[in-house]
């Protein structure tokens, strides 16, 4: 029982982590909580089933397409809504982000309706819903294997991009000192676009995985997931990519165990309780740099 709960919690946590890195990376480069990130995650799921249903694209290519579209949407959101506010007070950008979030939610309702819809069952390999293997008392489904493999591979890939490539290093440089980054000849706006594309692509994948895992999609699904992933990013230390990964996993596990042992009604509340406890004890988050030490 405990092991199964823990395993399910980890599955959910990895997905939260995939969304949370999007919040934390954008915060790192422009100090903005991109509230529209949850909606990009939602659009990823809907675009994926639309490609499957309307165009007959198989699942995996549909996922790649949805990811690419969301990367583009993320860049557009930044260019249209946030870029004009780069030098404005951060509160203006924050309010704009909330506006973009509501706008996208409504667009989704117009296109796909306001009722939840199931994921396209026929497109999902049969092996996903069967038990792939049993580990002690834990049953692992094919979909869970897929989620583990994909999320972990993506996080390794992301870590390599951030730490080993020129543009990844530029992202870190920009987060540490924007003026100095510009003085190095770094095209700051291009790096910001790259950050949005990366985070949005990963968010889209998370949306698709959740859609498959719970077999339901809705125009409002981005709200809850967004708030959770944001909490995970804060929990890990906003601005820290490994922190967001860890925060997502911790939150997913805490929530699932809480729901299993206390009451599933407290599921969301328990996740936040963990976040609040961490913030009270360690305001900079699990892996964040201590407060006021930006430079």
């Amino acid at each position: 029982m405990f092991e199964q709960q823990l395993f399910n919690g980890l599955t959910l946590g990895l997905i939260y982590a995939l969304i949370a890195v999007g919040y934390t990376m954008v915060y790192g480069v422009i100090e903005l909580i991109n509230f529209a990130h949850g909606e990009v995650y939602m659009l990823g799921a809907f675009l994926c089933i639309t490609f499957i249903q309307a165009l007959g694209v198989p699942l995996f290519p549909a996922m790649v397409l949805a990811m690419a579209c969301c990367a583009g949407i993320g860049v557009l959101i930044d260019q249209i809504a946030y870029k004009p506010l780069r030098k404005a007070p951060r509160l203006a950008a924050l309010i704009t982000a909330i506006g973009v979030s509501i706008f996208l939610q409504n667009i989704a309702m117009i296109i796909w309706g306001s009722r939840p819809v199931p994921f396209t069952r026929s497109a999902v390999p049969a092996a996903f819903s069967e038990t792939a293997f049993t580990l002690g008392s834990v049953n692992v489904s094919g979909l869970q294997v897929f989620i583990y493999a994909l999320t972990i591979a993506m996080m390794i890939g992301l870590t390599l991009i951030i730490n080993k490539t020129r543009i990844g290093t530029a992202m870190r440089a920009l987060a540490q000192n924007a003026t100095a980054a510009a003085l190095m000849g770094i095209n700051v706006n291009r790096v910001i676009s790259f950050t949005f594309a990366l985070g949005s692509g990963l968010g889209a994948v998370a949306g698709i995985l959740v859609g498959m895992y719970y077999n339901t999609l809705s125009a409002t699904m981005g709200y809850n997931a967004g708030v959770k992933a944001f909490a995970a990013a804060v929990l890990g230390g906003i601005g820290s990519v490994p922190g967001a990964m860890l925060g997502g996993v911790v939150l997913g596990v805490a929530e699932t165990l809480g729901a299993g042992y206390v009451s599933s009604q407290y599921r969301d509340g328990l996740g936040y309780a963990v976040m609040i406890a961490v913030i009270l004890l360690r305001p900079s988050g699990l892996l964040g740099k201590s407060v006021g030490q930006k430079a």
Binding site: A181, L183, M184, G185, I186
Partner: protein, 235 residues
């Protein structure tokens, strides 16, 4: 090579530069001295396109670069070592240097230039895997200069490289600045340490509340009674 003509730069309603005109010729070390708040940093930032002048022009190699973006200005060969060094604290020393070469694609030459920086500043080689933020003030200044050299600049803008450093480190930094200049890099040096700056520079400008009030060969400025009392603390 580099010239500012009637440059006016504002921060919102604050008029920081009130018609600054100055020239830097190829191969020179030119120094810009002045008190706190005179507008020295703003002058360099106006050249680098970080603060864009509202009036006046910045010309480089005969072309108007006033309104160009910072990365285009860097690409043309003007690199700045900013005030306070602004190294990237959580990038390694080596990564800091490579960011200096961000716009370059000639890998082999970048490698050679990295070696050259380690030759100029052997301390940086010892610390190449350490985070920039863990270096001492003097080492950070060396890193900031090394990082700027990685761009292979034609003109190097230096903003108070001696700030907060022990006299012996300052001597060392100024020797390196002269060596860089002998290697063919033109230098515009902003300093509050007027004594040192005027000793290494060919020419100098004195900036007061956003205006150039005095200019001439560095030797003459060193003898100038006004400079001696206001900036050298003599007489």
């Amino acid at each position: 090579m580099l010239s500012l003509t009637g440059v006016n730069t504002y921060y919102g309603s604050i008029h920081a530069l009130k018609g600054v005109t100055l020239t830097v010729n190829q191969g020179e070390i030119v120094t810009l001295i002045g008190a706190n708040g005179a507008g020295k940093t703003t002058t360099l930032m106006s050249i680098s396109g970080v603060t864009v002048p509202r009036q006046g022009t910045v010309e480089f190699l005969g072309e108007d670069i006033t309104k160009l973006s910072t990365e285009k200005i860097v690409a043309r060969g003007i690199t700045q070592v900013p005030e306070g060094r602004m190294i990237f604290p959580r990038l390694t020393v080596r990564e800091n240097l490579l960011m200096g070469a961000y716009l370059r694609n000639d890998k082999d030459n970048v490698k050679a230039d990295e070696e050259h920086v380690y030759e100029l500043f052997p301390k940086l080689l010892e610390r190449s895997k350490q985070h920039g933020g863990t270096l001492s003030g003097g080492e950070q200044q060396m890193l900031a200069i090394g990082r700027a050299l990685m761009a292979r600049p034609k003109v190097l803008l230096l903003d108070e490289p001696s700030l907060g450093l022990a006299p012996i480190v300052v001597e060392n930094i100024f020797e390196i600045i002269q060596r860089i200049n002998r290697d063919g890099v033109t230098i515009l040096l902003v300093e509050q340490n007027a004594q040192m700056a005027l000793q290494v520079a060919h020419r100098g400008y004195v900036l007061e509340t956003g205006q150039v009030t005095l200019e001439g060969p560095a030797k003459d400025l060193l003898e100038d009674p006004k400079v001696r009392s206001a900036y050298l603390g003599l007489d």
